[in-house]
């Protein structure tokens, strides 16, 4: 009698009914719906069902992030050994199967990158569960993507307790105080990044934190450098790094854990565009914005307004299109700026929103005295402006339609009075 035996699924449903209405119900339901669809059915009327619920959306973004994560684990090890070779004066040729996709590299990824992922998810979901239990609502899926983004945008040597503190801050102040997923003004992952940047600047900038062990070895005989390309440029030392354009594009450079590989980010971005999760308008306009700002800076250098002695020379003279393949610009544009909650909602607004993200990113990158990167600040700033942009786009639409309404004869037989009445109603 197989139908009398309780399957795991049925047992879970029974437990669920047992917990219904109790305090811990949200916590249990969150775990339950990960495994199975709930057994509730609608009791009245028919409802449109779509396959892409919030969890599916989140999972799509995470899928797009998996290649980046795997690459970053190998890159963590590769940069570590490359920095040691560089410090010892040993020449190093990159070969993808020879010295990049190796177990040694991957092992450093496992001991350094995985703990970041685990802490990020563990602490963040714990906060979400606590809030769900206190407020008595279902656990929201919003943290699934944030939890994956956070470890990818911090330096590899970030101490785990700092990450935990920042995650608690970001989830509570960045999201829960506004009412949880979907209500937040600022992107929670970037709130976490900004908190880390302002709270522990020595761990978030400089020439040590980007490569595993560079901090521990600093000052000793086996010191290694972890300077990023933007770091070299900010010090006007463009001639000191030896990364080729393909290194920059494919990501064999030091930087925040997951930001380096523009190639994989591009693939993830295309995947998100074709699965219609992320907005191509934001991505495209952000790229345009960055190029425009880069061109302007290049123009300033070409005009001779900025001399080689200026502290802005290195970053300003950097070829405009290369801004896209170093630093976190590509990662920010593809995965952060396109956040549907904090970005602009209107199609026309998305163009403005994206454009200014790219524009401001490069501007802050050049002018920021402490830290040659500005993507997270630019996106947070535009997050704040997104509702204002939407407001004016909608106002503009209303005005245009009113004008059309005024010029058009609604009906040939209409009297003047009725036309006015219709106008008032539309307004």
């Amino acid at each position: 009698m197989s139908d009398k035996r309780l399957t795991f699924k049925k047992r879970l449903h029974i437990i669920k009914h047992h917990y219904r209405g109790k305090k811990m119900a949200p916590a249990f339901n969150a775990l339950h719906t990960f495994l199975y669809t709930p057994d509730e059915t609608t009791h009245s009327g028919s409802h449109v069902r779509a396959a892409d619920d919030l969890k599916r959306t989140m999972n799509t973004v995470i899928t797009a992030l998996i290649p980046v994560l795997l690459f970053s684990m190998f890159n963590a090890g590769y940069q570590h050994y490359a920095a040691i070779d560089a410090a010892n004066g040993v020449a190093r040729e990159l070969s993808v199967f020879g010295n990049f996709l190796t177990w040694d590299n991957f092992w450093i990824g496992i001991i350094k990158v995985l703990p970041l992922v685990i802490v990020s998810y563990g602490v963040g979901l714990l906060v979400e569960f606590i809030f769900a239990v206190i407020k008595g609502h279902e656990v929201e899926e919003g943290y699934l993507v944030t939890g994956m983004l956070v470890p990818l945008i911090v330096p590899i040597d970030t101490p785990l307790w700092m990450l935990a503190v920042a995650v608690i801050f970001g989830v509570i102040i960045g999201k829960e105080v506004f009412g949880g997923t979907g209500m937040n003004i600022l992107n929670p992952a970037l709130t976490i990044r900004a908190f880390l940047f302002f709270a522990y600047p020595t761990w978030m900038s400089g020439d040590k934190v980007w490569v595993y062990e560079a901090v521990d070895r600093a000052g000793g005989p086996d010191a290694i450098s972890g300077e990023t390309i933007l770091g070299y440029l900010a010090q006007n030392n463009a001639s000191e790094y030896s990364y080729s354009l393909s290194d920059m594009f494919f990501g064999f450079i030091p930087g925040s854990v997951g930001e380096t590989s523009t190639f994989l980010i591009l693939l993830g971005g295309l995947f998100l565009i074709f699965s219609k999760i992320a907005s191509w308008r934001i991505m495209l306009s952000a790229v345009i914005g960055a190029l425009v700002m880069g061109l302007m800076f290049n123009g300033i250098v070409d005009q001779g307004w900025i001399g080689e002695t200026s502290k802005f020379y290195g970053l300003m003279s950097f070829p405009f299109w290369q801004h896209l393949i170093v630093g976190g610009l590509a990662f920010g544009i593809v995965y952060m700026a396109t956040d549907p909650v904090t970005g602009s909602q209107t199609n026309r607004g998305k163009w403005f929103y994206g454009f200014f993200i790219g524009f401001m990113s490069v501007m802050i990158r050049v002018f920021n005295p402490a830290y040659p990167e500005g993507v997270f600040l630019a996106i947070l700033l535009m997050n704040v402006f997104a509702p204002t942009i939407d407001h004016y786009v909608i106002r503009g639409n209303v005005k245009r339609r009113l004008k059309r309404m005024k010029n058009a004869n609604v009906l040939p037989t209409d009297s003047e009075g009725e036309k006015k009445k219709l106008q008032v109603e539309t307004a």
Binding site: P159, W161, M162, V165, I173, V177, F195, F198, A199, Y200, P201, T202, W203
Partner: protein, 215 residues
């Protein structure tokens, strides 16, 4: 006759919690953001405001029947400016370092919304004794929040309280710093005060739901 009637007591106790000038009326925020990075500065600021508001309320209350209502704001400004100058000079004379820390914010007590607010709302309509109590009560409520914010900002931001190292020495790595702990630079910058005040407001309103405004 008791020195303080029940009504008088509520003049002092209400601003401490349910009618706090910072967390409920959201006044005096600027100074709460600017000078609370250190506990000492918070305390001195609280005392300075207490002096100005207590005395000012009494003066305005005594003059309330002779101030023409058309120029009352100017009169109030003169009173508060005179008192603030006294505070400023006293600080410069006896606590020069501290007056440097507080810098322009002592002078800006003049524009502290709490002070003008109490002059307008209370001292112009009540006797000197009650006005005095109201001034003390409101500046206590203001000072309470300042001290709470200053406590957390100095402890988390610098690891000290009143300048004494509480968590050990961050340079030589003693105490808590030996475990890898580091000061939180975010708490030093003024936006952190906004967030701490926000959290206090959040905690207070969830403890007393009657304070939550209708939308």
């Amino acid at each position: 006759m008791a020195l303080l009637t029940k009504k008088d007591v509520s003049l002092i106790s209400d601003p401490l919690a349910d009618n706090n000038p910072i967390t409920i009326q959201v006044l005096g925020i600027c100074s709460a953001l600017a000078i609370t990075a250190e506990l000492k500065a918070s305390v001195v600021m609280a005392i300075a405001v207490m002096f100005v508001l207590g005395m000012g309320n009494v003066v305005i209350s005594l003059m309330r029947n002779i101030i023409p209502s058309k120029i009352r704001i100017i009169v109030q400004l003169i009173v508060v400016a005179a008192l603030v100058i006294v505070v400023d000079q006293v600080l410069k004379a006896f606590a020069y370092e501290l007056s440097k820390t507080l810098s322009v914010f002592v002078g800006l007590i003049i524009t502290n919304c709490i002070i003008m607010g109490r002059f307008e709302a209370f001292a112009l309509a009540n006797g000197p004794w009650r006005s005095f109590l109201d001034g003390i009560g409101n500046s206590l409520g203001y000072g309470l929040i300042l001290v709470i914010v200053g406590f957390f900002r100095e402890l988390l931001g610098s690891g000290t309280l009143f300048g004494f190292a509480i968590l050990g020495d961050p340079i030589t790595k003693t105490g808590l710093y030996a475990t890898g702990y580091e000061n939180n630079g975010f708490m030093i910058i003024p936006p952190a005060a906004l967030i701490v005040v926000g959290i206090i407001i959040w905690v207070q309103r969830s403890r007393t739901p009657a304070l939550i405004e209708d939308n």
